[in-house]
């Protein structure tokens, strides 16, 4: 009885030790929830096309969360790829380098449009960045003075808009989309209104003035959505006079429920974004640890498969889902850069 117990304990310890050293045999990806659906489509097709490799694991968790995980270190216990809906920040590159992750390959997979949509039965909105700024900024300049945003309804912003109380559902701070929304909509609107200059004239330096421009109001008219676009959609279902910020792909899957607003006179479509006409779009990225190439089986093949025309070209499954394919030369350049092993 006693010897049996000892043997059992020894066996347990042995399995624990061997598995601790057990190498990972599938690609591990984490990051942006915007890139997640694209990455899962690629992962799934990869598993089907390359039966010799297991299907990659794709974790969600946001651009920042994914990059943080990515920068923990080099080795099979750390992830290989971080998906991001924004470019990696210098501070993140620095923290990566501290943990020994020095060689990072940046891959641009295509573009994503950020669209503004309201309930399908509502009126058409022809938005300009200045409208969003005047509706949502915490402070705006009125008669030469910086005051708390006095606008109550969309009609206050522009008489052509309906007399709806302002209610906007925008991505929360942890989303990469928020940064794009701030830079390409609020800041542009702030400049267009001349408010950026007015702030600088009032003594703010440029950085403070910009930050002040895209600080959103906290009086409940602008609501941060920390979850997914499904949550934003649920808010619009509940408040038919709400305006939500969505990814183009999500909108295209819900065109029977949502009506999209034009921005600066352009309707968001994959074509208008690819042509650069629609102003609010951003590139999507993923970052690869060069040190893991050749160590994790299938990693190189996964990246190559991802950037092939079969996945991210104009008629690919990702384009069908809503990704705006990059122009031919850019895709060619991405492939060449990955093949050459260029790092940040």
């Amino acid at each position: 009885m006693k010897s049996l117990k000892v043997a059992l304990a020894a066996a347990l310890c042995a399995t624990a030790l061997t598995t601790a050293a057990h190498a990972r045999d599938q690609v591990s990806v984490a990051g942006s929830s915007t890139v997640l659906p694209y990455a899962t489509i690629v992962a799934e097709n990869f598993g089907e096309t390359f039966p010799d490799f297991p299907t990659p694991i794709v974790e969600s968790g946001g651009s920042s969360g994914g990059l943080k995980e990515f920068c923990r270190g080099v080795g099979t216990e750390f992830i290989d790829i971080a998906n991001a809906s924004r470019a990696i920040r210098d501070s993140e590159v620095a923290s990566c380098a501290e943990a020994g992750v020095t060689e990072i390959q940046e891959i641009r997979i295509g573009y994503d449009g950020i669209v503004f949509a309201s309930d399908i039965n509502g009126p058409d909105f022809a938005l300009e960045p200045i409208h969003m700024y005047q509706a949502l900024a915490a402070q705006i300049v009125v008669d030469g003075e910086l005051v708390d945003n006095p606008n109550e309804t969309w009609a206050d912003v522009n008489p052509d808009f309906p007399d709806w109380e302002i209610a906007a559902y925008i991505p929360g701070e942890k989303h990469g989309t928020r940064e794009v929304f701030e830079e390409k909509v609020l800041l542009v609107g702030c400049e267009a209104a001349g408010d950026l200059q007015a702030r600088m004239d009032a003594g703010m330096d440029e950085d403070t003035a910009e930050e002040n421009c895209y600080a959103v109001r906290k009086d409940g008219k602008s609501v941060d959505i920390d979850g997914d676009y499904t949550e934003t959609l649920a808010r619009i279902d509940a408040n038919k006079e709400g305006m939500g910020v969505f990814g183009l792909a999500f909108y295209e899957n819900n065109t029977d429920k949502l009506k999209v607003a034009t921005m600066s006179g352009v309707t968001p479509t994959t074509e208008s974004i690819a042509a650069g006409e629609y102003p609010v779009s951003r590139p999507l990225f993923f970052y690869v640890k060069k040190a893991h190439l050749g160590v994790i089986p299938g990693l190189k093949e996964y990246v190559e498969f991802f950037i092939s025309d079969a996945m991210t070209g104009p008629d690919s499954p990702l384009a069908e889902y809503g990704l705006v394919a990059a122009p031919d030369e850019e895709r060619e350049a991405t492939r060449a850069s990955f093949a050459a092993g260029e790092t940040l």
């Binding site: 990455a39 799934e44 216990e77 065109t255």
Partner: protein, 440 residues
């Protein structure tokens, strides 16, 4: 003396009870009010329970049916293996153009003009992209099928499935819909021919995660949850019971055991995300266990469940009357014999109930799994607990964020499955308690 003082008092109340107002009416009224409040509280609870169940079931029951199309598929050798070298190169059968076989069969059934590209594309998108793996698996498992024609039920595309279930608003203009008028016409043709119908969705239980709603299932999540529950049971039950027996029966009552007791009660109330952080730091970063693996999830949930089990076990041990212990010791049993022969068997139903309730809580937990990488897209079945997997509540969370309409019903369908698992566990706990509980 006592007699003398009692008698006058009783006679006094006896005679005065008819006249003195002792607030009987008010007291009855208060009791009636209290009962009404209690009833209202129960009714409110039931109302929200039915609201929750009602909305989940109303939205989710359709997930158990999946629209499928019956096709007579000719496994044409020209398509699968044009050069005839499948015996020497196994990749031939794995990478053949299987969707073409299904598309051809569908075109024939619908009478689509092969030169009409737009019509062909509309017809092709009735089919799920999962037909590639479906047909591949059929051919790989039995290559002799090549050259013959078989009747196969293939999955319809998720959008077609949603349209067939009436989840799209078909009154909006055609360009705003995921399914166009021609496809609706095709659907009608197929339905009238009796080759398109809703069939029981076994895939919901067997498939792994997928980006296509029609081939997305809870298989990996069910296995992952099963592994985790097994690990929790194997680790938490013996450790928890041993700890409680020691604390309850053997440990001296002093400052130290008091501190331990306070800590255990505290730990039971710690938010579960804290255990996730602990798991990330200890099991993954320090012990080097693999990310996203059920074993780490199981260990984290073990830590989370331990305090619950210890508290329940100690309560069960306390409920065994001291006379049992005294009798055992009195006939000469050692303290250990007393515990294992008498106290533990009598406390077992309570311990099991506590354990099952602890397991049920662990089964529904997502927050700690987020940090150890189990909130992930995992398509392949985990062979061992060391392979990546997800868990039931994680799958619900992942599906709830998907854009496709067909995932809405699947989210609710997954909730129904999780609720069934929980109900089974809780009912088992009640049956065990009813059956084996002893009253003194």
């Amino acid at each position: 003396m006592t007699d003398a003082s009692l008698t006058p008092a009783t006679t006094a109340t006896g005679t005065r009870s008819h006249t003195r107002d002792i607030g009987l009416k008010a007291r009855y009224a208060a009791e009636r009010r209290f009962r009404a409040y209690g009833l209202a509280a129960v009714a409110l609870g039931l109302f929200f329970l039915f609201l929750l169940l009602g909305s989940v079931i109303a939205q989710g029951y359709t997930a158990f049916w999946q629209t499928s199309i019956q096709l007579d598929i000719e496994f044409d050798e020209e398509v699968i293996d044009p050069d005839g070298n499948r015996d020497s190169d196994r990749m031939v059968l794995l990478t053949a153009n299987y969707p073409l076989l299904a598309q051809r069969a569908l075109h024939e059934k619908l009478g689509v003009d092969p030169d009409d590209r737009a019509a062909r594309r509309d017809a092709n998108s009735l089919l799920s992209q999962g037909v590639r793996t479906q047909l591949r698996d059929i051919v790989v498992s039995d290559p002799s099928i090549i050259g013959t024609t078989r009747t196969v039920w293939v999955l319809a595309h998720g959008d077609i499935d949603s349209a067939a279930k009436g989840q799209f608003d078909l009154t909006v203009e055609e360009s705003r819909r995921r399914v166009n008028d021609r496809q609706l016409g095709y659907m009608q043709t197929l339905e009238e021919a009796g080759v398109m119908e809703g069939r029981f969705n076994t895939g919901l239980f067997t498939f792994g995660a997928s980006s296509r709603p029609e081939t997305a299932g809870m298989g990996v999540a069910i296995i992952g949850s099963f592994y985790m529950m097994a690990i929790v049971l194997v680790l938490a039950l013996p450790i928890g019971v041993a700890a409680s027996i020691y604390l309850e029966e053997f440990a001296p009552k002093n400052r130290l055991t008091d501190i331990i007791e306070v800590n255990i009660n505290n730990l039971a109330a710690v938010p579960s995300i804290v255990y996730g952080l602990l798991g990330l730091a200890v099991f993954i970063n320090f012990a080097g266990l693999p990310r996203s693996a059920a074993v780490v999830g199981g260990l984290v949930l073990t830590l989370m469940t331990l305090p619950t089990i210890i508290i329940a076990t100690r309560a069960a041990l306390k409920a065994v009357p001291p006379s049992i212990r005294a009798a055992a010791l009195g006939v000469g049993a050692s303290k250990m014999q007393m515990v294992f022969h008498h106290v533990l068997p009598l406390a077992a139903p309570g311990i099991l109930t506590g354990t099952i309730i602890g397991l049920a809580t662990a089964l529904g937990e997502t927050a700690p799994l987020l940090l150890i990488g189990m909130v992930a897209f995992v398509a392949d079945y985990p062979a061992t607990p060391f392979d990546p997997s997800t868990a039931l509540p994680v799958q619900i969370y992942m599906w709830s964020g998907q854009a496709e309409r067909a995932f809405v019903e699947r989210t609710s369908g997954a909730i129904i499955i999780l609720l069934l698992f929980l109900a089974v566990m809780n009912i088992t706990a009640i049956i065990l308690r009813r059956r084996f509980e002893r009253r003194w």
